[in-house]
Point group: D2
Chain length 426, copies 4
Amino acid sequence: MKLSKNEIADFNKSCNQDYKHENDFLRSKFTKKGIDIDAIIKKVADFQVAIPSWALGAGGTRFGRFSYGGEPATLEQKLNDVGLIHALTKSAGTVSLHIPWDIPEDINAIKEIAANHGIVFDAMNSNTFQDQPNAEETYKYGSLNSTDKRAREYAVEHNKEVIRIGKALGSKSLTVWLADGASFPGQLNFQTALKNTEDSLQQIYAAMPEDWKLFIEYKPYEPNFYSTTIQDWGTSFMLANACGERAYTLVDLGHHLPNTNIEQIVATLMHKGKLGGFHFNDSKYGDDDLTVGSIKPYALFLIFNELVYGMENNPQNPYPAWMIDASHNIKDPLEDLIQSLEAILMAYAKALLVDQKALKTAQLENDVVKCQEILQDAYNTDVRSILKAAREQAGGAVDPLKAYRAFQVRQQLIDERGLEVQATGL
Amino acid sequence: MKLSKNEIADFNKSCNQDYKHENDFLRSKFTKKGIDIDAIIKKVADFQVAIPSWALGAGGTRFGRFSYGGEPATLEQKLNDVGLIHALTKSAGTVSLHIPWDIPEDINAIKEIAANHGIVFDAMNSNTFQDQPNAEETYKYGSLNSTDKRAREYAVEHNKEVIRIGKALGSKSLTVWLADGASFPGQLNFQTALKNTEDSLQQIYAAMPEDWKLFIEYKPYEPNFYSTTIQDWGTSFMLANACGERAYTLVDLGHHLPNTNIEQIVATLMHKGKLGGFHFNDSKYGDDDLTVGSIKPYALFLIFNELVYGMENNPQNPYPAWMIDASHNIKDPLEDLIQSLEAILMAYAKALLVDQKALKTAQLENDVVKCQEILQDAYNTDVRSILKAAREQAGGAVDPLKAYRAFQVRQQLIDERGLEVQATGL
Amino acid sequence: MKLSKNEIADFNKSCNQDYKHENDFLRSKFTKKGIDIDAIIKKVADFQVAIPSWALGAGGTRFGRFSYGGEPATLEQKLNDVGLIHALTKSAGTVSLHIPWDIPEDINAIKEIAANHGIVFDAMNSNTFQDQPNAEETYKYGSLNSTDKRAREYAVEHNKEVIRIGKALGSKSLTVWLADGASFPGQLNFQTALKNTEDSLQQIYAAMPEDWKLFIEYKPYEPNFYSTTIQDWGTSFMLANACGERAYTLVDLGHHLPNTNIEQIVATLMHKGKLGGFHFNDSKYGDDDLTVGSIKPYALFLIFNELVYGMENNPQNPYPAWMIDASHNIKDPLEDLIQSLEAILMAYAKALLVDQKALKTAQLENDVVKCQEILQDAYNTDVRSILKAAREQAGGAVDPLKAYRAFQVRQQLIDERGLEVQATGL
Amino acid sequence: MKLSKNEIADFNKSCNQDYKHENDFLRSKFTKKGIDIDAIIKKVADFQVAIPSWALGAGGTRFGRFSYGGEPATLEQKLNDVGLIHALTKSAGTVSLHIPWDIPEDINAIKEIAANHGIVFDAMNSNTFQDQPNAEETYKYGSLNSTDKRAREYAVEHNKEVIRIGKALGSKSLTVWLADGASFPGQLNFQTALKNTEDSLQQIYAAMPEDWKLFIEYKPYEPNFYSTTIQDWGTSFMLANACGERAYTLVDLGHHLPNTNIEQIVATLMHKGKLGGFHFNDSKYGDDDLTVGSIKPYALFLIFNELVYGMENNPQNPYPAWMIDASHNIKDPLEDLIQSLEAILMAYAKALLVDQKALKTAQLENDVVKCQEILQDAYNTDVRSILKAAREQAGGAVDPLKAYRAFQVRQQLIDERGLEVQATGL
């Protein structure tokens, strides 16, 4: 199934138009502070977040999985799902593939499908945390960090293959997330594991085309429960520096110990020009992979406040690669992604509303009360009208979730694909 | 495969006998404090911990699973595995089954196999956190707490079936662990969910034979990531009180928020006569289900210090049901269980060494330094010789792990059962 | 200094009046859902939060304290400070005293000052976590839980004195927060400590007038760093039940382990009719005592969602006592309290906007996506215009913080009281 | 008061001599594995840990302080206290001073007192987290990171003064711990704060003599409760690199988020040659500053396992500066320090017992079960006899705590100094 521009335009006409008046009100309020609402609408409309191919089916936990009907069984169907989200939101114009789940049989056919949906290929993802059927080496005890040279080489080779596929598709970056670590004290020699990881990453880095970037993800635990070789931003940053200029740290919101100040990490990395990518999700306990903004929307806003600051003030940092990295155990995956996109754009719009000049003055005066007032004045503003206007201008649905339900997308996907099919992924 | 008493006795003869001298040394040291080492050896020998049937195969995480050869495919084979552990350790004389994974086809045959191994059936476990093939209702949105009356009834009925099977096998208790909860704010009405859970548990309680106990487990999160209906001991305790005298709280070591003082919970529950059961494992981050004693052995000792105190001073509390509840992602499951048993018995033996009289005096004098000295004098003692003597007396292996490897148990199991078979469970 | 109605009314006239139009917009939007904005304005105007007497001066940490000028040195001055906040916000109409810091010399004079400010005396607070000069017993090793009978009696007697003072002032409740616990394993016998605490609380309960309530606070740690005798809501709830009908649990937002689902605790307690009081603050790490709403405003909203639900559906639960319990290390204490009140009222107003009927339907249909949409539709609404209208109707300042600065309150207090004076408290 | 060698030797004669036989037993057991017990005794005897001057009096929390009699009121008395600990333990042969609390009036007199006790001056510590009376600038809003240039310069100048004093005393290193950070979002511009900190540290680094080292401490929170500018090892490491070769990271055990894998950080830093110093304490919740080994002795052992490995395998890393950094709220400070020293040496001795060769083999074979067995075989060994022999050889007390009490040290200090005196420090 595919949603046409006309269908969406017709839907928009049926929607409440009050948001236009709300924007007039915001315009009059913020113009006084020298903040241009229409420029913000434009920026919101331009913001694109990659959908990962593995997030289009139902996820699960180690305690099992409850399936969802109409899941995409093939790469083509995954692209079609992203196409649906993009048609509705106009903010999901990129996709992130995961190899070996998404090896295209016919590269050109895949590229054409993507192009038809207005979708480009963002960062490629490798997988060395599972053994594939017929694997020649096992990753049970590690991949890039393994004590076994053959396992390391096998994992490096897999990453090279991912680069080759990505190159063919037009991707320009590789994200490496490593589960490598230990579940028990003594299992690993930390120094050897770190050294092996560095060596392997350097080989992967060397195999990238010259216009590619390498994103090194970090995570404190899970699936290993005692130590993870790349456990924090400091380790990732150190490894990125050891690889070279085009190696960067990737921040995933869920990959932190309790209470970590993530926005400060973001600021530090941008200051050093090393924030390469960003994975969005939300969590209350661990790497819960919940819908973005469903648990801690203010923390998300504070992070975006640093991202916006960095994008405006840190030319040394490349424009980051954005991706949603959530798992959908209990919601329709497409609805979940639409909610995530909405939360991301709200946080972005609110961060754009921050009166940076006034904030700087208040900081210099150590007027802590006013600093908070300035941030919260932006945060407390209802920016949904800005998002509606942005989507409307871009040809998306004013209210994507309502549209998704009005068009009965899920039912049509079930009709097309059946109830039982299961998407590849976690 | 089965290990005979003679084989084990022969193995013991080949072992280093130094532990006997070590026990002489401990005897002379602790007799001065009025602590009887031989009585402790006897208590250690008598201590039996249930092996859960689902822990005999390789576990996994949501990121996949690395299989282990020779896993037990049937209930009979699971009992044989427990039998092997029990033959070696003489401390695994009970087994805990999980329905529907372990529905016996021939009750009497199963009972006979267990009897041959000297194993009895401890608490039964129900499963309402997964949908079984052909399930008539779904637990996707809850079971005992569901807003859907039919789902609740279906889950209650399942628990009744578990009771029936347990009754036939000679079990005397039911453990209810509920995944029920919500992954997103708003998803559940907390009060309704709690009320439904209470009603359902009361029905299950009413269906138990009069000599049975109900153990209500609690857990803060996972697989639900925003709220769990029975989130803590307070909720479990409240529900147990609402059910009746033979309903108790069950403590699982891994089911707590970071930094929780678990030993204090144990003391509180025993004081109130409501600690029914105890699940052993270890963890660094979440419910990691690692080998007991592999991460925080001192915390385990402090917990056993309360358990020992309660068993000696709280007649109002029943003797607790002990079980290991770990997952074995990276170690041979049987070796992992042997290590867990060793850690449990070490903590128990050390707790028995605490000079309770001196401790009480120091507490009354607020001599905090001495209180710590007394606990740590017990903890710092090397009690492995006590465990060896206890096992030797009971007919087990002096060094069970060494014996397990000497007898090449895993290889024989692989020869018997093959490399590819996968046990039911998580 | 004192702010007159006329001064505030004049200030209001100088303020931007746009909020009235914003309320018109909200009215038209929410009337469709059957939600009455004017009724919400009325509820917000009626909501009163107690200011604790100890929060009017600069706080500090164990690493020191940076003083703030113009702090109140006497109880009279503290009441005047609360009066200033109340005049501006019309939502701080109660005060909570702490004995021995606030022992009134002339009860009638104090009552008259309070009455002049329109302030009544909310819950009284005792202090057994510090030794006062000339104390006859020490609380170094505990108070209500002490192994020393005399220390327990001394602490009980102190609480009785607090009740006597409170009675004279017209207070109707006593809040007991206990630091009692241990910093080292072994220091305390948990069961004895719990038993002693229960006995002591029962004596205090028995000493209360028949129309008084007892609020039992809980906290996991600090100032004791290994165990706290009343460590969680479950322990408090158990003790409240052991005391009697008019004993309740008091929830302080900062007194929880990382990631605790506090809103679920609130719902459970209200369901059982045992939520007596509530202390507001915010935190990122521990009991940070930061300005309400400065770190996790969404969590505060979710808590208010349960409070509003409970106030409407749980007649078994009394109307809770509200208090701000924050420390002001870096902000002007009065400004900090004004910001806290604003955050509380915003969360309250948003919770009142939740479409409870639609939510119930979505919950019954397990439409998890819609449940989130309903909550977030309320949360994303900018309710500041509702607060402005509520304050304006009540005779307070439309923008209290702006008014506070316009009236140069702090400078006047410094002129009156000097720079060096230090308020009693933490 | 001072303890003479003869007094201690006499005391030792009165002690149980069984430890010698225990060492014989260990000798026979470990020699088989190629591990030399006498070499370990020698290493334990040589291990010296600095006592910080501020830890000799009673500590406190923000909720108050319970004083302890006989506290040292002057630097001379502080050195005498360290001398007492050193005489008993022979492992406290260094002291760490804190300026401005310990500014010596007569450098030579102080050096002579220290020399008489056999004590040398380890790392100097500056203090920019409090305002001293008559301070010209305030650190309320930061020191090295301040937006106010004068405050930064004032803080840099203070550190230079600390260097000058240290130089005169024979110290060779400076530890900088910064409380600098923010308690509220928006208060600080993270990038500016980081940049200012880097600039300030570089100035301090430049002011150090060429044979000095700079240790940069990190901490996630407290006394600031939203962000700390040097929040983790990654930030400290980055800053150390920006300063130069003789700048290092300092690890304080209590300065980590919940569940952090500290031993991995230690390994990483030693691998990179950047672990300069180490502060010992223990904690259950936050920076609790409890007696070393009182809460998580196994974690301490795992950390020492990495330290021992690094000291043997990482010539690129300097020998680390060891210090105890604990607070003594409830125990006699000197007894607390003696317990801490014992815990440190036990962990060290156990780490030295690890069969590194067998461990390496097991790691290469991915024999995870055996890896754990090897570590725990060392950990489960009772090494107290090794410590006794080490102390006895060095001229200290076989049982220092028993000796401390036998000599009635505290009573004598109270007699000398009185009950009311309060040491400077936290």
